[in-house]
């Protein structure tokens, strides 16, 4: 199910040349802000929770997920070079699965790791906040990568739709319409984080069971469907 050559090519497409630098800028910014906040406000659990929840989990993880998830397959379909990959004797689901693994790994490295570091800078893992948010980031990385990889195979405007989901649905609708939060990767991962941290600072609107079922369901379904999409891929010309 895992093909090292495809993985290597995908890593290079995602991180080659200057792209790793651009991807790395976001985590660096998060860490820089944590240092500033620690200097300004000192170690404070509420502040740490706000910053990690508002900036890291709500904004940074989805954006990196969009870049890694759609970037793992989107550009190849876009410029047509995916036919060279598809013409190799590899199962299409294998290609998707490999690309998913790479996308998950990249998202985790560039979002969960900085979250952990930022958490330790902010309050030295007081009340398990750093660890809880890191777990939330890890869990949501998997779901986001699968979801956005699927979008990459479905639409040529995958990045826009991914961002609309992450910013408009989760952030805007989620804050206005409580029902929208049930269908939000961010809340599902917060439910898991809530269980781990056990404190009052991290809350989720979704129960742990629902969250886990939905997380696993979305990931598996999205990966399966992306494989199906790739089996019957039609290459469209530029609009």
């Amino acid at each position: 199910m895992y093909d090292p050559t495809v993985a290597r090519l995908t890593y290079r497409a995602l991180l080659g040349r200057r792209r790793a630098l651009i991807l790395g800028a976001l985590p660096l910014l998060l860490i820089a802000i944590s240092v500033v906040v620690r200097g300004l406000a000192g170690a404070d659990d509420q502040t740490a929770s706000d910053l990690l929840g508002g900036l890291a989990l709500a904004t940074m993880v989805p954006i990196i997920g969009v870049i890694a998830g759609t970037g793992a397959i989107g550009p190849e379909i876009d410029d047509g070079s995916v036919v060279y990959l598809l013409s190799k004797p590899l199962k299409r689901p294998t290609i998707i699965f490999t690309k998913l693994i790479v996308a998950i790994a990249v998202t985790m490295v560039f979002s969960a790791l900085p979250t952990l570091i930022a958490g330790f800078i902010l309050n030295g893992n007081g009340q398990q906040i750093a660890v809880a948010y890191t777990i939330a980031a890890l869990v949501s990385s998997i779901a986001y990568a699968a979801l956005f990889l699927l979008l990459g195979t479905v639409s040529r405007h995958a990045v826009v739709f991914g961002l609309v989901y992450a910013l408009v649905w989760e952030a805007l609708f989620g804050s206005l319409v409580p029902g929208a939060r049930t269908l939000s990767v961010q809340q599902w991962s917060l439910a898991v984080a809530d269980k781990v941290a056990g404190g009052d600072l991290i809350t989720s609107d979704v129960g742990l069971t629902t969250a886990t079922v939905l997380l696993v369901g979305v990931t598996v379904l999205a990966t399966w469907y992306a494989g199906q999409k790739l089996r019957a891929l039609t290459l469209a010309g530029e609009e």
Binding site: V37, L40, L55, M60, I67, P75, D78, H157, V168
Partner: protein, 302 residues
């Protein structure tokens, strides 16, 4: 059109040059300004998907509608309840709807420049009588105009609605004018930032994500820091933090000079002195974007 063939073959010599009737063009030449205007109007139309496929019309039109609908609802409410004033200031509207504006810039800025880079059509543009400055100005002006249309249309809806609801004319006109100035500044700033980022990468998807990341992450970071500064009672630093994201920059300019109330935590806007810094930074950023674009296109495809 009769083509003359003055072919006279000297006897004995077998070499001859056929005149097959090619003519040089001697009609009117429309020149640089015309080419620049064409590029501008094409880019502006392209920013709303006009003259392109149906699929590429969907997103810009959808965002345009999403921009205008809340304004229409506010007007309807104001008319129905006979309110004394609109529920939202003209200057505040763009700040509230910033997610939509950011998405629009992110989707249309790469559309405007990345594809030219990717399909290597930029050298073709420069084979026409336009120069780097013309290309950059046309693209910049087109995206800024498109953004201005996007941001000014809901203000117009609000204004017309306010007049229909018989709100105070002078008051509303002043607010509308202030709103227009602020969205004009916002359009220039966002268009510049979007184009600079998009012009770096020939990949459309990556450009979109990069633009969104710059616009939303900077706003998220700045508003988080401002909230913390307010909680720490160091309110003096709030305006200075606001300088570091485009949205709060516009917010600061309009709360210092355009009679808006600041959207910053605690409603603490910059003072007049700090407002001057805001205006300078804002104009400086726009000029810097223009300069960077000029530099970017100095040697494209050569």
């Amino acid at each position: 059109m009769a083509v003359e063939h003055p072919v006279t073959t000297p006897s004995g010599d077998q070499t001859r040059i056929h005149n097959i009737g090619y003519r040089s063009y001697d009609g009117p030449r429309l020149g640089r300004a015309y080419a620049r205007r064409s590029l501008y109007s094409q880019s502006l139309r392209g920013a709303y998907g006009l003259g392109r496929s149906v699929k590429s019309k969907v997103l810009p039109m959808l965002l345009f509608v999403v921009m205008c609908v809340p304004a229409a609802i506010m007007v309807a409410v104001a008319v129905a309840t006979k309110a004394k004033e609109l529920p939202l200031d003209y200057t505040r509207y763009a700040i509230v709807m910033q997610a939509v504006i950011s998405l629009y810039v992110a989707s249309q800025a790469p559309q405007s420049v990345s594809r030219d880079l990717r399909f290597k059509t930029v050298p073709l543009y420069f084979s026409r009588p336009i120069e780097t400055a013309d290309y950059v100005r046309a693209k910049f002006a087109a995206l800024a105009s498109a953004l201005f249309v996007l941001t000014a249309a809901p203000l117009l809806v609000l204004y017309v609605g306010a007049l229909l609801a018989k709100l105070d004319f002078a008051d509303q006109t002043e607010g509308f004018a202030q709103g227009l100035v602020s969205v004009a500044l916002l359009s220039l700033l966002f268009a510049g930032l979007g184009l600079v980022i998009a012009a770096v990468t020939p990949r459309r998807g990556f450009g979109i994500a990069a633009v969104i990341a710059v616009l939303t992450i900077s706003y998220g970071a700045v508003s988080t820091l401002q909230a913390i500064a307010e909680a720490q009672d160091s309110t003096g630093s709030i305006p200075w933090i606001g300088l570091f994201s485009p949205v709060t920059l516009i917010d600061g300019v309009q709360s210092a000079f355009l009679g808006a109330s600041s959207a910053a935590p605690g409603g603490i806007g910059p003072s007049t002195g700090e407002g001057v810094v805001y205006v300078l930074v804002c104009l400086g950023l726009i000029a810097a974007c223009y300069g960077l674009l000029m530099r970017r296109y100095k040697k494209v495809g050569l």
